[in-house]
């Protein structure tokens, strides 16, 4: 921790300069890069630029050979698009993802004449989905998200044509089990005595996290007003308060609470509240939060229970010590 004002301006300049540089390098590279061409010998890509309107045969034609897949597809949200008469063929039905099917049909089902996803990287598969599903605020950061980076593609979580009829968002499995299939270490926290009611089915992981990426660490989902997701339900902690406990907004709720689950009451990080308080209010002067006064005798139960006096610990409007 330092106490000077000059670095801030320099930092600001460096950050903005860095961004400008990235933009310039990117623009330069694009200008001199050749446009992408489909690789020879590979299955054709699903981009509409590669096809003419007469190359599309419609989903009903696919059904003649792929009836089981079609029957499953019929139950998904994707199927409704086939009813949209004024939508072009490259945006609906099987061919929206697999590309135009005429050559494949004419060749008697030749697999090399249709766009298939076997052997494609997770990012390539996701790009197919993003052709239609980019453009929503929810998905804007997918190409920078943790899942993108770690090659978790859309179809790892969503089933484009085999979801059960009742599946929300065409998920391959219900939350939270879907998330636990990779993030297995989190499951134990939801079995602790104090926990958010995720296993009970009344909350789900995506209430607080955006699986499609985001600007926040751990892909936490902000409220519409830009607040921490906790405040969507715990609105009474939102403030603003005249006397805000500084960490509340600066460090976030997770400075004192473990959000998934805890053995400690109130999902606190320590079982004894005073320990939690003293580890910040450490009386070390330059380290940590303001000191505790000398009459706070830690040998007595009275001063071991900080919130019996400092009741409004998240923030108070009428007492700077959070007494009421």
């Amino acid at each position: 921790m330092t106490s000077s004002t000059s670095p801030l301006k320099a930092i600001k300049r460096a950050l903005i300069g860095g961004l400008v540089l990235v933009g310039l390098v990117g623009a330069y590279s694009i200008s001199f890069s050749k446009s992408a061409k489909p690789d020879k010998g590979k299955a054709p890509q699903a981009t509409s630029a590669n096809y003419k309107a007469e190359d599309y045969v419609g989903a009903e034609t696919c059904k003649t050979c792929h009836e089981e897949t079609y029957n499953n597809f019929e139950k998904t949200g994707h199927f409704k698009l086939t009813r949209y008469g004024n939508w072009t063929a490259d945006n609906k039905g099987c061919e929206a993802c697999h590309g135009a099917g005429k050559a494949h049909v004419d060749a008697g089902g030749d697999k090399t004449k249709i766009h298939r996803f076997e052997g494609q990287s997770a990012k390539q598969i996701s790009e197919t989905c993003l052709r239609c599903h980019a453009g929503k605020e929810e998905h804007n950061n997918f190409r920078r998200g943790e899942h993108w980076r770690n090659d978790v593609s859309c179809i790892n979580c969503h089933a484009p044509h085999s979801a059960t009829a009742t599946a929300q968002k065409m998920l391959v499995q219900k939350e939270p089990m879907l998330c636990f299939s990779c993030h297995n270490e989190i499951k134990a926290q939801f079995a602790m005595p104090f926990r958010h009611k995720v296993m009970e089915g009344t909350m789900k992981c995506s209430d607080c996290h955006n699986p499609h990426g985001g600007f926040e660490l751990k892909q936490v989902r902000l409220t519409s007003s830009g607040d921490a997701p906790c405040l969507k339900c715990h609105a009474e902690k939102q403030g603003p308060f005249v006397f805000e406990h500084a960490p509340l907004r600066e460090e976030g709720c997770a400075i004192c609470h473990t959000p998934h689950g805890s053995n400690n009451a109130k999902l606190l990080k320590r079982n004894e509240l005073r320990i939690l308080c003293l580890e910040c209010h450490s009386n070390a002067g330059t380290v940590g939060a303001p000191d505790t006064p000398s009459f706070h005798n830690q040998a007595t139960a009275r001063f071991q229970n900080c919130t019996t006096c400092h009741v409004k610990i998240h923030g108070s409007n009428v007492d700077r010590f959070y007494f009421r």
């Binding site: 670095p7 453009g135 605020e137 005595p193 403030g239 053995n263 580890e279």
Partner: protein, 669 residues
């Protein structure tokens, strides 16, 4: 006892009936119902839950709060138009669980008319109970009801050019709580019935404008808090050495927070090479309140408090702007460079003006004397200012289809401003304390697929956290995370992960002691899923969560400043398995077991009064079993049993055991 007999009879009846039906006919697959152009799928599980428990009822209710009685365990209804040309809707989907007595109740409704609208609603209700001997001297109690609702309507949801959104979110809290109040240097438990609500309205759109995907949202949030505080009769307080008592207290502090907010975001992908996203959120929260507190009783000097009146208004304001910008440059098929930049700026300014009017008398052997009234005005201001810049730049390179790596660097600069003034002379400005810090961290990681069935994810992060005032989450850290998944077949998956977190505060020597924090966290987890067929499945797993935290602290023992250590231990083991066996085409058996055991500090005890050792060793295990018999194509009969057994090591007055048998019918329409 009555419940036990009833349940036993139901079990026997069900098994007998089930056995007869199993013998009598073979199962027929259930089919969807077609009605007026819609395909309907519906199932509902209705039943009754029984409850037998012993031990600490308050702790049971604080943890679980399941009651006895009839309830809707689960409900699912789906109506889908056959040809996509339904009347008012093409899809109507309702899911519900827990209604009729469970402490956690949930309802979701999705309605959609192709092309025209999509409506989704979530409604949740929680019965929240809190009564713990381990928290705030068992004087912070709650028996409340919380309701949350989210309602969203999208018009033209499939339109790629323009979508319009309207939304509403509600939050209601009602019920009885007990809290405490520090008055006259004594603490008094006081009643505090909660009445708070939040309402949030939103309107916005997504639009495609030229090459940009634009999103705009305008919202308004209102919070109302009408919680009151009361002591209706004589209350002597916690402190036996303090003579003060409260005979009457009534505090009203109605507060209102109004928060308009605006969110704007734009995204584009240029030539499949450059992905840009920008987002800006601006909100201004303003809280206004008016305090009226009336106290009567006796003060710490044995004076009669005839009336201690606190009265005054106040307000607080918090404008907050958050700007985010992200760019990804897909330099080649193998290399991606991304940059994410954020600026977050808020400033909280607030103040109140409260007048205390104190009327007292003093009673002695010679009679009662009225003391001169006291009028104490207070004018208080506080300021919290915060500005953060952070930037994260990252490169991701795919060395081969089986191996890719990434490296990233994060830089954060924060400026925090804190200031307060109490009764400042007119014209005096607040002189805030301003602090800066800037932190750096580096992330290195890879994703590998050594074999087609085996995937490994690895991340290592080293740096400093951006905390200025607090140190519970510490400054310097090394985080290591490895996750692996082996999938030898479609029916068998093995997952394992190891997460380590080593945190250290920078060493600082105070009074000859290295005044730092050392916290080490380790989480190891492994799980296996085996589903060879629809007739059998097994899922099992184990997690070990270990945390050792050692913090130097300075505290006061009998007025003497003492330098000591705070040690916190978590040694948490968790094991579970769940299995389902279809023992007959009509009979299914599911069973599971979960155990969580935290060994805490083990045998360690504090070596001196200056050492504070804390942990919460406990054991919490829960077996469960469920028998399902298909009585008819449209009817399943279920009987199940859950047990929760909770034991603490240090305190045994919170232990409980709860047996929760239930029986239900699942109806398929």
């Amino acid at each position: 006892m009555k419940n036990k007999i009833g349940f036993t009879l139901l079990i026997v009846l069900g098994i007998t009936l089930g056995a007869l039906l199993v013998r009598a006919q073979s199962p027929a697959p259930s089919s969807d119902t077609v009605l007026g152009g819609y395909t309907l799928t519906q199932d509902a599980e209705l039943g009754v839950r029984f409850l037998g428990r012993d031990g600490n009822d308050n702790k049971y209710r604080s943890d679980l709060n399941y009651g006895r009685g009839f309830r809707l365990f689960n409900y699912d209804f789906l109506a889908r138009s056959k040809n996509g040309e339904g009347g008012l809707f093409d899809l109507f989907h309702v899911t519900a669980l827990g209604w009729g007595g469970d402490p956690n109740e949930f309802l979701r409704v999705d309605v959609e008319k192709n092309r025209w609208y999509r409506f989704d609603a979530n409604f949740r209700q929680f019965d929240y109970f809190n009564n713990l001997t381990t928290f705030a001297l068992n004087q912070h109690l709650a028996d409340t009801n919380r309701k949350f609702g989210d309602f969203n309507l999208a018009l033209f949801p499939d339109n790629q050019r323009f979508k319009f959104y309207v939304g509403y979110t509600m939050d209601r809290s009602n019920g009885n709580t007990v809290t405490t109040y520090d008055y006259q240097r004594d603490e008094f438990p006081i009643l505090s019935p909660i009445r708070a609500e939040a309402n949030d309205w939103r309107v916005g759109f997504d639009a495609k404008v030229w090459v940009f995907d634009i999103s705009f949202l305008q919202g308004y949030r209102i919070l109302k808090d009408n919680t009151t505080y009361a002591v209706p009769s004589l209350n002597v307080g916690n402190n036996p050495t303090n003579t003060s008592v409260i005979t009457f207290l009534q505090r009203d502090i109605p507060s209102r927070t109004h928060m308009p907010f605006t969110r704007f975001s734009a995204h584009t992908l240029i030539k499949k090479k450059l992905d840009f996203t920008g987002r800006f959120i601006y909100s201004t929260g303003t809280t206004t309140f008016d305090l009226t507190e009336v106290v009567k009783g006796v003060d710490a000097s044995n004076n009669n408090i005839l009336l201690d009146l606190f009265k005054g208004p106040g307000s607080a304001r918090r404008p907050n702007g958050i700007g985010d910008f992200g760019a990804s440059f897909f330099a080649t098929d193998r290399l991606t460079i991304s940059d994410t930049f954020r600026v977050n700026n808020f400033r909280i300014t607030g103040g109140d003006s409260i007048l205390e009017s104190l009327f007292r008398s003093r009673t002695t052997a010679f009679g009662t004397t009225t003391l001169a009234p006291l009028f104490v005005p207070s004018l208080t201001f506080e300021l919290v200012g915060y500005r953060l810049f952070s930037n994260y730049v990252e490169g991701d390179y795919k060395f081969s289809p089986r191996f890719s790596g990434h490296v990233g660097y994060r830089y954060t600069a924060r400026r925090v401003e804190l200031g307060a003034a109490i009764q400042p002379p007119l014209g005096t400005s607040i002189d805030p304390d301003i602090q800066f810090n800037h932190t750096n961290s580096v992330v290195v990681g890879f994703k590998a697929r050594p074999a087609s069935i085996w995937t490994v994810f690895f991340d290592f992060e080293r740096g400093s956290a951006d905390n200025v005032f607090t140190r519970l989450s510490n400054y310097n850290y090394n985080n290591f995370r490895v996750r692996t998944s082996v999938k030898p077949s479609k029916t068998f998956t093995l997952n394992a992960s190891l997460v380590t977190r080593d945190n250290n505060n920078p060493a600082l020597t105070l009074g000859g002691q290295n005044f730092g924090v050392d916290a080490k966290g380790r989480i190891f987890s492994a799980s296996a899923d085996f589903t060879p067929s629809s007739k059998f499945s097994l899922t099992t797993g184990y997690t070990y969560n270990r945390l050792t935290s050692d913090s130097s602290i300075i505290f006061f023992l009998g007025g003497v400043q003492t330098t000591g250590d705070s040690l916190y231990f978590l040694r948490d083991h968790y094991f579970f398995f769940n299995s389902h066996v279809q023992i007959h085409p009509r009979v299914g058996l599911s069973f599971g077991y979960r155990i969580e055991k935290d060994k805490g500090q083990g045998d360690q005890v504090a070596s001196s009064p200056s050492q504070l050792i804390s942990s919460y060793p406990l054991q919490f295990h829960s077996p469960e079993v469920r028998l399902t018999i298909k009585l008819h194509e449209h009817v399943d009969w279920n009987a199940g049993f859950q047990r929760f057994d909770y034991k603490e090591k240090f305190l045994n007055n919170q232990n409980y055991r709860a047996n929760l048998p239930y029986t239900s019918l699942r109806l398929y329409f």
